[in-house]
Symmetry: none
DNA sequence: CATAAACCTTGACGCTGCGTAAAGGTCAAT
DNA sequence: ATTGACCTTTACGCAGCGTCAAGGTTTATG
């Protein structure tokens, strides 16, 4: 039996365009092209198409399918298992999203302002990624991989509740910063309370505290404009003052 | 505070290109464009970006986000709920895929030729479409659209189908059991997925689900040798492990 | 046997959400 | 004055096709 594009299309439920595209990318070539340039498919090709559609249903990329079906035993089982893992990961991610969306809906219906909610999702990832990207290598060298990974894990594992506590503390830090900066003295009572608050805030993500690390971070705040921008957003020269306060607090100055 | 593209990009973790694109599609316009054509963002825009990133994380399309954030109270809650439903559907689909992939892996490892598997997916669709293609026009003319559609519906709803789905799931349960038991921990991720699969399998025959009933059944598996034998046939101590996993899953332990 | 209907072909643009040059201005610092 | 780090616009590329457009082929019908 010989089939034209439309015949195959109807049999398999795909469009003619799809078949032409599969031909184009070399995923499914017709058995023959006749004198008028028509694509002619036979049983073998139809079977292969079924295979393709099966894997496509499984949401594999056409590229991956091509490899799997590449003649002579590409390791199908391994490929499938890898794909299985991808699907599992996808579902795990979906579960997280579902939880977040649900919480968001709840908070909306409860009339609670959305802000914290909205910031929550991007926050963790952002935090980790930025940390990794910018300081990852540096910090890993200084403190070892474990410390970093633990810190990331801890950050990811924060419960919503903890997170809220944390943002509350963050606000407190800002407030205190506003107050303390008025003294214009990083050794003042207010400034030292600020450093203390800042330490508490850090402890939500750090496993252990060291004065060195705390002081180091404070330096970073000024060196890195993102942090500078963050603190300066609330208080002019805020990052600088916070650094100085922490340096005094940690006995570095 | 005024921010250029790069500043905003670093603060938020997106690329400059992204910001320009968001400007281009009107999702996030800068507060101002200065004399040299530079985009200038302020706090308000940064906040909006946070919102955008939140929804983007939730896998909403930028188009949908634009609507949600369109000034003057687009119904956010409704939109969120609709989106929630989409995510739910997506997960349901993923679950099916997972089961199928797992079955495929199992059959491969069992040395059973893949053919039937591969053809299975397209089968239903093919059947209906062939019918349509061949006789559709004719029959529709003779008996009217409703008859045809009903017939198709019935074909789709075949008990045979259901049965095959169910055995498919059953295979998935066995496979997952094999995997999960390696963790030796009924609370492990794999074990909880097992319990979840088992629940799904049950739902083919149960009208309603309750944790109590589920847990009760799991106990029975171990108490009744027929069941024990069934699961142990595939996996040593399988029944026991399944019970434990289900007990954790249902919160009984 | 002419003609219309139904099929076939290639070519090319469009969709999403950007990444990634390319070619060229602007700004701060040396 | 030059360098380097920014900024700009323009435009192609990715996946997987849908959707015209312009034209050739086959088949059914009058």
């Amino acid at each position: 039996m010989e089939y034209t594009v439309q015949k195959v299309a109807q049999m398999s439920g795909v469009s003619g365009r799809t078949l032409r595209y599969y031909d184009q990318i070399g995923l499914l070539k017709p058995a023959e092209v006749n004198a008028s340039g028509y694509r002619i498919y036979r049983q073998k090709e139809v079977d292969r198409l079924q295979q393709i559609l099966f894997y496509r249903e499984m949401e594999m990329s056409l590229e991956a399918i091509k490899e799997i079906l590449s003649d002579r035993e590409f390791d199908e089982t391994t490929a499938l298992k890898e794909h299985y893992q991808k699907l599992i990961d996808k579902r795990a991610r979906l579960d997280t999203l579902l939880a977040t969306v649900q919480k968001t809906i709840a908070s909306k219906e409860g009339g609670i302002p959305m802000q914290d909610q909205a910031k929550f999702a991007g926050f963790k990832k952002k935090m980790i990624q930025e940390n990794e990207a910018k300081y990852g290598k540096e910090i890993r060298e200084k403190y070892g991989d474990e410390t970093v990974d633990q810190s990331n894990a801890k950050l990811m594992g924060l419960t919503q509740e903890k997170y809220e506590e944390m943002t509350e503390l963050e606000q407190a830090v800002i407030s205190q910063l506003k107050e303390a900066i008025k003294t214009d003295d990083p050794a003042s009572e207010a400034a030292q309370q600020l450093a203390e608050l800042h330490k508490k805030w850090l402890m939500y993500t750090w496993n252990s505290y060291s004065k060195e690390a705390h002081a180091g971070l404070a330096e970073m705040y000024v060196a890195d404009e993102r942090f500078t921008a963050y603190y300066d957003k609330y208080v002019e020269s805020g990052a600088e003052f916070l650094r100085d306060a922490v340096l005094v607090y940690t006995g570095r100055r």
